[in-house]
């Protein structure tokens, strides 16, 4: 079986930026964006849920911080702000891995997607971007506004906000690549639920989603710094907090970009291998 | 006293109406607009013990709604309904214990368990004595040929197998009445025939009263002496199938594709219904001529490329009934 996408997988990146395809990916992203806007009840529920958990953590921080103290470089307001930012970042995949790609592999629908004349990676990336942009703009930001109103979460300076936007963009790419890699294991494992759960644990723990990395004991912090997950949550959040300035920001970008490249490359290689497996074994 | 008594049964649903316009969503938040839909508007009939009744009508006529009220799933807006002396929706558990229900499109069995285990669970649910249950199981197993797949998980069964299993499951507990909703839908000819045989057998031998809804006229012709025809929520015809057949079931339509287009076709013993280019539809009375004769007659006059013989759909029978209302009853 000939996959138009398979030969292009090796140079997917190039095919992804072909002008004709760019238009296609934009449409896919737009449709994903729209689809995310349909479920109004889920939308409101999501905001309330995220806000609840953020508020919960804030109460804990308010209880532990004595006025004016700074722990591990975090003031009480820093901790509070960090909480709301990370909840807002759920929208870009900070907390949970998507399972949709894995489900198409299990159901066999992935074969149809693979045989379309597009970059398979580009297709899923566009979907992810569309959906997550919606979540970020209309869900995450509203959640954060609640934090601003009720807990005085910080509003950053303009330069910090701009840097944050860049960091988010890179975080999206890293987050997507990681999710893609993990989902793809379904090609080789009949039941990859175990892998998904472990991968999710690694993500939520080492990204700084559950707890700021600054609060980790030094040896755990060192491990976290060697892993890509901080690029998804901790780094953008620290930029938003204003903890990273000047050259530190550029270092953060470089780290994010590095992980983007590494994970995307790994994802493409795995995809090639998966496609080869499908072609030979018939899925 | 009749086993099933239905009197002036009515069921009205309130359908939410989305007001048109830009702020539709906002407006619907403020005020809920609803439109009443009379799924069943005035239905009355009785069924005696041991009858095999067909309950037919076009889509949306109110068949499923009536069945749901008879089985106790839905409660009526107004009217009286009594099955074996009980009001279904008021005494659901007791009522349901004595009836069997088969939904054509949904299975009642446990999806990932072997068929036999579903039967065993049902034995416990219906509190059946083991001996009686086993006797029923043997008898149904033989009649429906269940043996080959008794140990197969239900999700692996073909549609025909699953339907047979569902039928057995519905009858294991010796219900006095069996309600069937589209039991032969999607099945091949052989499977259909097997099920019809089975239904006829249990009605005749075991005296199970059967009420079934179906779109398949052949089911009706084969099984039922009596049909209740329902349309737009009301009973349009309630009587013997023989009458229905002699009055309206004797028309057939022959559709021929000719080699050239014609303006007009004239053949003895047939009425021209319509001409569309090369396609001609002729209606004939089965009592006056056979399809074979008519085809020969047409072929003698015009070159035929292809042909079909259409049976009258229930919809067209109903249309005919409407056109000749005073011939009913």
């Amino acid at each position: 079986m000939e996959f138009p996408g398979s030969s292009a997988t090796g140079i997917s990146l190039l095919s992804a930026v072909r002008m004709r395809n760019l238009r296609l990916y934009y449409e896919i992203a737009l449709r994903a964006f729209r689809r995310a806007s349909i479920y109004r009840a889920a939308y409101i529920a999501g905001i309330l849920t995220n806000a609840f958990f953020a508020a919960l953590r804030c109460f804990v921080y308010l209880a532990v911080y004595r006025a004016g103290t700074i722990v591990a470089g975090f003031s009480a307001n820093d901790a509070i702000t960090y909480t709301w930012v990370t909840q807002a970042l759920i929208s870009i995949g900070a907390g949970w891995l998507p399972w949709d790609l894995m489900q198409t592999i299990r159901s066999g629908d992935v074969i149809t997607d693979l045989s379309r004349p597009w970059s398979f990676y580009g297709y899923w990336l566009s979907r992810s971007l569309g959906e997550r942009c919606f979540n970020l703009l209309l869900r995450g930001s509203v959640t954060y506004l609640l934090g601003f109103f009720f807990f005085a979460a910080r509003i950053p300076r303009l330069t910090e906000a701009l840097a944050f936007v860049v960091a988010i963009g890179l975080a999206l790419l890293v987050s997507f690549a990681y999710g893609f890699i993990v989902n793809l294991t379904a090609f080789w494992l009949i039941d990859n639920t175990g892998v998904m759960i472990i991968a999710n644990i690694l993500l939520t723990f080492f990204s700084g989603f559950l707890l700021p990395l600054a609060f980790f004991p030094p040896w755990l912090r060192q491990i976290a710094q060697l892993l890509p997950f901080q690029a998804i949550t901790s780094l953008p959040a620290e930029i938003w907090l204003g903890h990273l300035t000047g050259p530190a920001v550029w270092r953060a970008f470089a780290l994010q970009a590095g992980w983007t490249l590494a994970l995307t490359l790994l994802a493409m290689l795995m995809l090639q291998s998966a496609v080869r497996k499908v072609v030979i074994q018939g899925g | 006293m009749a086993l099933i008594e239905v009197e002036h049964l009515r069921k009205t649903f309130l359908l939410a109406v989305r007001p048109p316009g830009r702020f539709a969503a906002l407006r619907s938040l403020l005020s809920r607009q609803t439109r009443p839909v009379h799924a069943v508007s005035d239905v009355s009939f009785t069924v005696a013990a041991g009858e095999l009744v067909g309950y037919i009508g076009p889509n949306g006529a109110g068949k499923s709604t009536t069945m749901k009220m008879l089985t106790g799933i839905l409660h009526p807006t107004s009217g009286r309904i009594e099955v074996a002396g009980r009001v279904p929706y008021r005494e659901r558990v007791e009522h349901v214990r004595r009836i069997g229900v088969v939904f054509g499109q949904r299975s009642q069995l446990w999806w990932d368990l072997p068929t036999i285990e579903s039967f065993t669970l049902l034995r416990h649910i219906y509190r059946m004595p083991v001996a009686r249950w086993q006797a029923n199981l043997h008898s149904f197993s033989a009649l429906l040929d269940l043996e080959p797949f008794l140990n197969t998980p239900v999700r692996q069964l073909s549609l025909g197998q699953r339907m047979r299993a569902d039928l057995a499951a519905a009858l294991l507990h010796d219900p006095t009445i069996l309600f069937l909703d589209e039991p032969t839908i999607g099945l091949d000819v052989v499977a259909r025939e097997r099920i019809r045989e089975f239904l006829e057998h249990i009605n005749r031998e075991n005296g199970v009263t059967i009420m079934l809804t179906t779109h398949d006229l052949a089911d009706i012709e084969r099984l039922c002496q009596r049909v209740v025809l329902i349309d737009h929520g009301g009973v349009v015809y309630d009587g013997q199938i023989a009458t229905l057949r002699t009055r309206f079931g004797r028309w057939r339509t022959l559709v021929v594709d000719l080699n050239q287009s014609v303006d007009h076709v004239e053949v003895p013993n047939a009425e021209l219904l319509r001409v569309e280019g090369t396609r001609v539809a002729l209606r004939f009375d089965r009592d006056h001529t056979t399809a074979a004769d008519l085809i020969a007659a047409v072929a003698a006059r015009y070159p035929i490329r292809d042909l079909t013989v259409e049976e009258p759909a229930i919809e067209s029978i109903i249309r005919d009934i409407y056109e000749q209302p005073n011939t009913l009853q």
Partner: protein, 265 residues
Amino acid sequence: MLALYLRLIGARIRSQMQYKLSFWLELIGFALSTGLEFVALALLFGKFPVVGGWHLAEVGVLYGLSSTSFGLAEMVSRGFDAPFELMMQRGSFDGVLTRPLNSFFQIMASEFQLRRFGRSIQGALVFLYACRHLTINWTLARMILVPLTLLSGMTVYMALIVIGATMCFWTIKTPEVINIFTFGGDALVSYPLSIYNGLIRNLFLWVVPVGFVNYPAALLLLQRTDPHGLPAGVAWAAPLVAATFFAVACLFWRVGVSKYTSTGS
């Protein structure tokens, strides 16, 4: 009735245990991912010695009791979650009504997810760890209090799951909002209720009694007093409160079913 219930869930358990490796992986996976909450909690205590005056081990009691109860509730009442939602989407609830059994019973018996016990395992481990690091005076009363509290907690969480499912009769999909009270409640009562503002504290004590079946019992075990004056003795009323709340959930379910039989779906 009980025999039938055991038979029905027995079928579910057997089919779950079919793939032994998968099952164990998922069980451990659940234990780990839910246990992560406590790991984060413990790390936090690494930087801050007390929360609201409570030490890590004391908070461990709160966490352990709640987590164990929640895991048990999830395991038993799973039928009210995805299976029921699917049933409503497919319209197969009719099939439930054609069986001569109470519909609540049928849904409850329709699923029993053993792997959810993973949460209870880690909760119990945390509780045991906490007890070893505390000097609790284990009177007979206190020893009875623990299982009583666990059962009460389980009942409250089950009631919440049922309430969430009942909303399906109106909205087809279970509203995520119920997660605020189940998952959110569990996370909330893992810390002493005294740290929250009055509104939240009262909400989770008196309206959605997740806190009522947890906090007072911890006060009794640890011989602490509540700064807002809640008498620790009310812990013994937990079973009653839980039963009442569960009864409310059952009533709500009946309303849902009657709505269904009125409008069809």
